[in-house]
């Protein structure tokens, strides 16, 4: 039986890696088959496997993003950035990266990429800066930003749902790491950009734009309010999924919109893929497949070594299997280990590892794929697998080392 389930698992993953276009549906079907194979499962309990909190968070965030986008919030933010930089390229680029990082930490990474990469390309065209460099960094900051909160990217959402650690503890542990990585990366980027000698002033049409539309501010305010509620979700005793979904639906409610209007903006593929992965993982967990891994890992007496091995192995695995499958696989093991007395630091190691590893290859995360597609559409160039990985290797290794230090401190202080 375990053989069949493992086979299903392997084939499902083969689809994810080689045929990503149809992988959502295939993963779900393989997941369903695996649950059928292990048998004796009461399907009315299906909602115990497919985690509604995860799905609600994702769905709610997607809805909110589509509302924010529709009301021009992102356009306004990029206008403000360009205005504030007063035409100094150097400043503009860093402001944009800053925005990518912080917006990604609360919103969908792909959305931020879609908004800012065209602007970066515009700057690179005007001033002959290497567009590859700008693209790679945009993707990097988006992935790193997504790593810093419980709702930043799908892996973190899943880690949150499984670990049930609070929103606040995600921020307090992961944000410092993220900011440190951001700063270090900025220093390196600064050197490179200086080498390209860009202190020039550029003209943008935005500065003369005086169109006044205040409505977007209300939407931003509503979003900030929802995030504030998230911060206090533990005190309120409400799940994040409920808060986000209720927030999103309330905005639609106030607007008098119908649900169908946001349907096209929601990434149903991801939702179905995640449900499928949950199913696969349930059956493999049910058969105790991970037991040997758990027992091997629990034998590692040094907590430092355990944390570091999770961090580095998840970084490299994510590069090839992509973030979601790795997250779910590791979570099964980590959950067991934490139940056996291991510290929560393991969860942070996983979140950081998956976040950093998501940069390693062009297929490791959704925003790499989208970024590369944009590159092709807008500049008619394309980064090959090797080019992408070669460019990313250094920042990834560097980030790995810095976060190792952080994780060691967490383990040492018991934070």
């Amino acid at each position: 039986m375990i053989g069949i389930v493992l086979l299903l698992y392997a084939v499902a993953y083969a689809y994810i890696i080689f045929l990503p276009q149809i992988s959502s549906v295939t993963t779900f079907l393989f997941g369903l088959t695996s649950v059928l194979v292990i048998g004796n499962f009461d399907f009315s309990r299906l909602s115990l496997i497919i985690d509604f909190n995860t799905l609600f968070i994702l769905l709610g965030m997607m809805t909110l993003v589509s509302i924010l986008k529709e009301n021009g919030v992102f356009v306004e933010i990029s206008k403000i950035i360009l205005k504030a930089s007063r035409g100094r390229v150097y400043v503009a680029i860093f402001f944009i990266y800053f925005a990518i990082f912080f917006l990604s930490s609360f919103l969908d990474n792909v959305t931020t990429i879609l908004i800012f990469i065209p602007i970066l390309f515009y700057i690179s065209d005007a001033l002959q800066i290497d567009s590859k460099l700008l693209l790679i960094n945009a993707v990097l900051f988006s992935n790193l930003g997504g790593m810093t909160t419980a709702i930043g990217d799908p892996p973190n959402i899943i880690i949150y749902s499984v670990s049930r650690l609070s929103f606040i503890s995600f921020i307090t542990h992961l944000m410092p790491v993220g900011i440190a990585l951001l700063i270090v990366q900025f220093i390196f980027l600064g050197r490179k950009l200086r080498a390209e000698a860009v202190n020039t002033i550029f003209q943008s049409s935005v500065e003369n734009d005086t169109s006044e539309n205040r409505k977007w501010q209300y939407y931003l305010l509503a979003f900030v309010f929802i995030v504030t509620l998230m911060v206090f979700h533990e005190e309120l005793g409400i799940e994040l999924g409920t808060i986000i979904m209720l927030g999103a639906m309330s905005v639609l409610f106030v607007e008098g919109k119908n649900f169908q209007s946001v349907v096209d903006e929601i990434d149903w593929d991801t939702l179905i893929l995640i449900s499928g992965l949950y199913l696969l993982n349930f059956s493999i967990e049910h058969l105790n497949f991970y037991r040997p891994f758990v027992s091997v890992l629990s034998k590692i007496s040094s907590p430092y070594l355990l944390v570091l091995s999770i961090l580095w192995s998840s970084i490299f695995l994510t590069g090839f299997l992509s973030a979601l499958p790795v997250t779910l696989m590791y979570l099964v093991i980590i959950k067991k280990l934490v139940l056996m007395g291991a510290p929560n630091t393991l969860y942070w190691a996983l979140a950081i590892g998956v976040g950093i590893g998501g940069n390693l290859t062009p297929i490791a995360s959704m925003c790499n794929i989208v970024g590369n597609n944009l590159f092709k559409n807008l500049k008619n160039e394309r980064l090959t697998f090797l080019q992408f990985t070669k460019n990313m290797l250094k920042p990834v290794l560097l980030s790995g080392i810095i976060s190792s230090a952080f994780l060691l401190v967490f383990s040492f202080t018991g934070f």
């Binding site: 079907l29 009315s44 409610f253 008098g256 119908n258 349907v263």
Partner: protein, 427 residues
Amino acid sequence: MKLVVALTFSLVLYFVVTGKLNKTIAAMVGGLTLLAIRVFPDPYEGLKESIDINTLLFLIGMMIFVRVMETSGIFEYIAIKTVKIAGTSLPKLFFAITFVVGFVSAFIDNVTTILIFVPVTFAISDILNIDPVPFVLGEIFASNIGGTMTPIGDPPNILITSAAKIPFTEFIKYMVPVNLIILFLADVSLLVTFKKEFSRQFSREFLEAFDESKVVKSRKRFVLASGFMFFIIFLFLLQKPLKLESSIIGLIAGFFGLLIFEPQEITPFLEKVEWEVIFFFLGLFIITGAMEKVGIMKDIANFLVKIASGSAVTLVSVIVWASGILSGFVDNIPFAATMIPVIKGLPTISPQFSNITPLWYALALGACLGGNLTPVGASANVVGLTIMKKYKGKEIAFRSFIKYSLVVVFISLVMSNVYSLILLKIL
């Protein structure tokens, strides 16, 4: 807490009936608010327990399945074949079409059936130069009656059979005969009403002009799609021995169909799912789950039991008529979703209701057949009438619709009442 939950439910119901706000959003906001104010001690567990994920997955799967099948032309093919076979007299054609509609909507969504058959009807009425109104009305009624026949024909049945764990074959064994009779009687009543319109005759050559092969764009695909459809129907028939949950068959139908027929178009097809309906259910499940949690369901059950005053015969009749009339005005889905936990809880309240199986059938009959009562009673009514207004410029007002439907629904409910009482004796 009871008051808050009841108030939320009535507010959502108000929006659904008046259509003042999008019903999905109203239901979701209502449900999530109840979660947020902690009607359930552990909201997370409450969520898991209230949501009937089987129903949701089944609907998602079947919606994809119908969309995929549509592209093969199989539905239009069936429609034209019917016209050819049905021959020369209008009443005969009418019976043929309505019975085919009934049969098709027994297996697929009523709205989809209407969406397929109404345009075909217009084509026929144009060529034959006849009034489409009686046909469209007959199709609407037939789709709702046909939907009553199987666990998958109408959403309330999905909910009921899923909750009561009634197997597919068992359900159709008891539901098909009675509904065929009801459908026949409904047709007769329309024939009498529209006597004048049905008096014309047509020649055989005339009907031969229709070409069913034209709707089939790719023969290979058509054959493959028919095979797949039979396979799915086959799975439904073997559901009990194979111990398959409806949701699994639905998902196989939808997702496998998608992989076989439209592997390049997965995302667009996922977007075509009526998510609005899915999330309406989701919100509603939470609300009814909360109503159950705070004990409102028990109150309703107690009330029904009190009316019935210990007699199962009265209770069955009350369920048939109450659900029939209410679901004529209110969406029958929330009503069924509300009543299910009530019926489920009956045996614990009073021992004389230990056999609740006939009550499930009474509820299914009342809730589904009552949908024929008004233009807003069921989605198929809304869709059919909307298309007719859009393409033929013929509008049927609320009152004139009721003029036609009243007899049909009255006959349906009388029949249902009698039949439920028979079931009470034999089950």
